[in-house]
Subunit: 271 residues, 2 copies
């Protein structure tokens, strides 16, 4: 399907775009089923927070309308929204009155091996560490060289995801996903106030865990926490939840809490 | 003047570009005088180092030729080269065989107030801190949100540049420039192994300071080092050297070592 820029079909973006020059913008990757964007309110909320923190003044009503219109044409697939601060000549200061631009791109739903969701995935131990930058932490912004470097560390199909730590050694997230640990009857997930992307599925699972009475802690996670975890899983807004079955010499089996959250994720993506 | 993509006139880049999606590339901003790119060898060297560290395999002979051809058409101005890893569909892993793309853009030489070079500039105290990421430190890559945030901190014309510190409080650089301190007969400039952009004019001044027998230390710099400095200046590859006359409550006058380096920079840009 054609991409849109500011609501119009387009295949290219002008060379003055601040996305090209500085990665000056945000994005959302949204699963679309039967013409409806999944987890739309969570995506819009994260986008609005990102705009607030980067001081990008966008028309969020217009963005919502456009996402829905594009999704209805896409049917089933993945909708990527890139919101750019605008255009610029040279220099980090935006041109006066530069208007944000909305880029929408559609692609087919990725087909993952069924065993990822059933038996779990192996995580690659990435040596690329995440820098600590509280001003950008949590946002899905366009400065993604750390993820590019991390993803380039493995080529084999044996690893479906990589585990990223921060420069201080804390366990943070997957390259494409957020990570949850199960300890006893409790869920743990990393505090993302220094680095990491606060995923939309993570936000939804945090909210729904509370609704069904599962205790959850957002906290700093060490390698020892991972070693002592009873269950481990990763999540994102396209595939939902995958159990983690292995990381380095550690092994887990998909456990009851993982299955519970996986079912919640499936419901969230299907409705 | 028209921009070029891969040697051909172009005004737009396709939406699959990894520069747009992830800031996955490098850039160089090159002063051009009378059709010749200034400090070309330094620019090419930094670009090659960046390609090596990001594992972008580019044809550096072709890049050199193209820069020279474009510069000769530009005459006087600023030439910006963006080197993108290539195109991609969704996902941080590049498409197999994705070829790097070269974008060249020309703009007029900026006109700065003459007093910047004569009497010096005032530095704005940016509260945006630089994150420590050794894997990207020194490179002029396309992930520049920290500079965008820092530059947005001031709007007045009183400040020609902003001073950036890292998250640990070390003095690192300007938003658009590198910083040097003079202490006695010695030059000091920040170690850029954790963060910062290793500017081309900085590299040239370090080399030429050694040639004319000026002692220079590349080291960690504290706020105290700045307070105790006899002279301070900033440099970049477009304007050369500007003395710093003020930062917060601190004041300096352009001193003899600053003038000496300024003359060296002028020679480097003119030849």
């Amino acid at each position: 399907m054609y991409s849109w820029i500011d609501g119009q079909p387009a295949q290219a973006i002008n060379l003055q775009s601040r996305a090209l020059a500085y990665g000056d913008g945000l994005f959302e990757t949204i699963a679309v089923r039967a013409g409806r964007p999944s987890l739309l309110e969570y995506h819009l909320e994260r986008l609005a927070l990102g705009c607030q923190r980067l001081a990008i003044s966008a028309d969020h009503g217009l963005i919502r309308d456009e996402l829905c219109r594009y999704a209805s044409l896409l049917g089933d697939g993945v909708l990527k929204l890139i919101l750019v601060r605008g255009d610029s000549q040279r220099g980090y200061a935006p041109a006066a009155g530069a208007a944000p631009r909305r880029i929408l791109q559609g692609s087919p739903l990725p087909v993952y091996p069924a065993q990822h969701a059933e038996h779990g995935v192996r995580l690659f131990p990435c040596s690329t560490r995440l820098a600590e930058q509280p001003l950008l932490a949590g946002l899905k912004h366009l400065n993604r060289l750390e993820q590019v470097l991390a993803r380039a560390e493995w080529q084999d199909a044996e690893h479906a995801e990589g585990l990223m730590r921060d420069v201080s050694g804390r366990i943070i997230e997957g390259v494409y996903s957020n990570l949850f640990l199960v300890r006893g009857a409790e869920l743990l997930t990393a505090d993302l106030s220094r680095c990491g992307v606060a995923g939309v599925m993570r936000a939804a699972l945090i909210e729904h865990a509370a609704k069904v009475g599962i205790a959850l802690h957002i906290t700093d996670l060490s390698l020892q926490d991972l070693e002592q975890a009873d269950e481990v899983f990763v999540c994102n807004s396209v595939y939902g939840v995958w159990p983690v079955r292995a990381f380095a010499s550690l092994n887990w089996s998909p456990g009851p809490l993982t299955r519970k959250l996986q079912a919640i994720a499936r419901t969230l993506l299907d409705t």
